[in-house]
Assembly symmetry: C2
Homo-oligomer: 196 residues x 2
Amino acid sequence: MQLHKHDVVEAATSLLDEYGIADLSMRRLARELAVSPGALYWHFANKQQLLGAVADRILLSVSNPTNPTPESGDWRTGIVGTCGNLRESLLSHTDGAELVSASFAAGQSEAMSNVLAQLSAAAAEAGVDSCHAELVARTVIYYTLGFTADEQSRMQWDASGADVANTVWTENPTARFTFGLSLLVDGIAAHSHADA
Amino acid sequence: MQLHKHDVVEAATSLLDEYGIADLSMRRLARELAVSPGALYWHFANKQQLLGAVADRILLSVSNPTNPTPESGDWRTGIVGTCGNLRESLLSHTDGAELVSASFAAGQSEAMSNVLAQLSAAAAEAGVDSCHAELVARTVIYYTLGFTADEQSRMQWDASGADVANTVWTENPTARFTFGLSLLVDGIAAHSHADA
């Protein structure tokens, strides 16, 4: 039976959800699919490429073209919407924030490249000059990844029954996330005016 | 010979620098110190507590009281200085950003609690009301951790000879880091005015 790339990504995502990123190895994945490790390397040159494909699978709804950045004038809504979708997608898979952060750093996730482009376009629309738009977009992404990795660690420890300090901080995470985003959006607006 | 807590933390930090966080286990640390694992548990109830102590060791210069937040009126300098020190400390140890992020999320790092308090004080000085000062501080911390984790991943892959995409992005990381911080500082200033 032929091994399709799509099936490999689905199986890897299931392993991730069940065991976490530390236990997602090429060897284990091959065993799960009842193929030799060599069959996996035919689709993915290395583990980083595989993780990038899983990242893209996790982020399907974020980079979906049916979910575009809102039209002109609405750059604030665009940034808040894109980052909100990104956070929700990360939270919907075990270790999602850690896996997507690693894939983004390695430049292996096409979906994250799309998110970066969406946010850069929103920054440009806000009036940020073109040589700084990508930097603004990266700043917003680092905040979103950093916040969500922290939130997800707490959630997963909580689910495992570990004793985590500062439990008050876990209250109303969406409002807390949005508050930090609003700081960044205010900063972008201030920066654009300073340039004008 | 008696096993001192300080020696355990030093040995753990050396293991971290040499092998990375994935290979820093209680078992390996005990072998390195030529003691039984039980001897370690006398000092640390679990691995999270040990990682918290290593995080505090890494962050010595950031939370040092001889390195306080600048005096009144200088909250911008305080935030930029604290976050710059935090980034440098994280970069000076293998997987420093990942280890400190995990310890911060678990509430196990006293040094990160001090950083949070320093940044909250700076936010209050900027005019942010008291119920939002800690949220502002956390936003700045998540950006710093997210940026530095990404930067450190790239550096470590580069050192290992891996082929990392977007190498242009690795140019002048300090200027890029500071640019993102300036966006946040502008946002804090705008937010304070909005409250006033």
